[in-house]
């Protein structure tokens, strides 16, 4: 019985914190620049909010959660300690908005021939998720 309650509890916990990550991608850095951004769509299918706390990966020394805001025509970038994904909703990390910033991109990483990489995301519900991310060029001459 105990085991049943426990597994039911686990099942419930899983159902409450169900998260899916899609469309993960990393922008190939501009030559000479050791910074770039990573983006994705995080969906919370559960009834409880959770937060993205930390990101890690093989390509840079540091990964930080940042956001952008535009005020009176001035662009401002700020670091976030965490990014909340409210219950039953999606948060998109995209250019000019929420993004993961890769700082000190390592040598021989995210090269022109690199097709994909990985990102490991740690959430407030103690879940650690590793996703495959495509490495894409900045759309040259396009928005």
């Amino acid at each position: 019985m105990k085991r049943m309650i426990l597994s039911f509890g686990l099942l419930l916990a899983q159902a409450t914190f169900s998260q899916t990550i899609t469309n993960a991608w990393v922008k190939r850095p501009i030559p000479g620049v050791k910074l770039t951004g990573a983006y994705m769509l995080i969906e919370n299918k559960g009834s409880q909010p959770f937060s993205l706390l930390k990101v890690q990966g093989p390509d840079a020394d540091f990964y930080e959660i940042h956001t952008h805001e535009k005020k009176d025509g001035v662009m401002k970038m700020r670091q976030l300690q965490s990014l909340e994904i409210p219950a039953n909703s999606k948060v998109e990390l995209k250019p000019k908005s929420f993004h993961i910033m890769l700082i000190q991109v390592k040598k021989n990483k995210l090269l022109p021939e690199t097709k994909s990489t990985s990102l490991t995301l740690l959430f407030s519900n103690k879940k650690e998720v590793t996703v495959k991310a495509q490495v894409l060029n900045r759309k040259k001459r396009e928005d």
Binding site: G32, F62, M75
Partner: protein, 200 residues
């Protein structure tokens, strides 16, 4: 209150209201450079910045129209997106048109961006893109003259150390190097293409 007083009071109210509306309109126009041509007469002008090849002043841009943009190379997406959008927008007029225009990126991050870094960064967007930087005093002067706001903001817990808040706007100079217009949206604002065709 007799009829005459009522009429006078009403007329006065209308006059005050109308006057206030006119003032508000003038205020909006004064504060938005893109809506007021005359404002550019008092903006822009010469500068002495640095290119990879050496000193660079406004004189070097004369003979062709120019588009100026102020930013910094550690800018993760605002600057690259803006510059990519600019190139796309120029191509949509004519794929060859960008050759007839000086495209200039001025880094306001005089602490981190040297001339080689700005040059490499700028040439990513077009091989003839001009990347400039300069000393603190000159960056402060040129940004003030072109109405560009920038400020260094400490990011306490970030490995970046600091970021640079900055105006994202394109400045159009005619062949004589005179500032004639500025745009925040070079993709959808029809006046951007109209202005370019005028200065070409």
């Amino acid at each position: 209150m007799d009829k005459r007083t009522l009429f006078m009071t009403l007329m006065l109210a209308i006059a005050i209201g109308g006057g206030a509306a006119l003032l508000k309109d003038a205020w909006i126009r004064r504060n938005d450079p893109s809506r007021n041509q005359n404002v550019y007469d008092h903006m822009g002008g010469d500068f002495s910045l640095v290119h990879k090849s050496g000193p660079f002043s406004l004189e070097k841009l004369k003979g062709k129209p120019s588009i100026l943009y102020f930013g910094f190379t550690s800018c993760p997406d605002v600057c690259p997106l803006a510059l990519n959008t600019l190139m796309g927008s120029l191509d949509s007029i004519d794929p060859e048109v960008h050759k007839k225009i000086n495209k200039v990126f001025i880094s306001v991050d005089y602490k981190r961006d040297d001339k080689d870094k700005v040059d490499e960064y700028s040439r990513y967007f077009a091989t003839d893109f001009v990347g400039l930087t300069g000393e603190k005093k000159e960056i402060e002067r040129v940004t003030k003259n072109y109405g560009v706001h920038f400020s260094f903001v400490e990011l306490k817990d970030s490995k970046l150390g600091y970021t640079v808040d900055h105006t994202s706007r394109f400045f159009i100079l005619n062949k004589q190097g005179k500032l004639v217009a500025s745009f925040t949206d070079v993709k959808n604002d029809p006046d951007f293409k109209k202005t370019l065709i005028e200065v070409l």
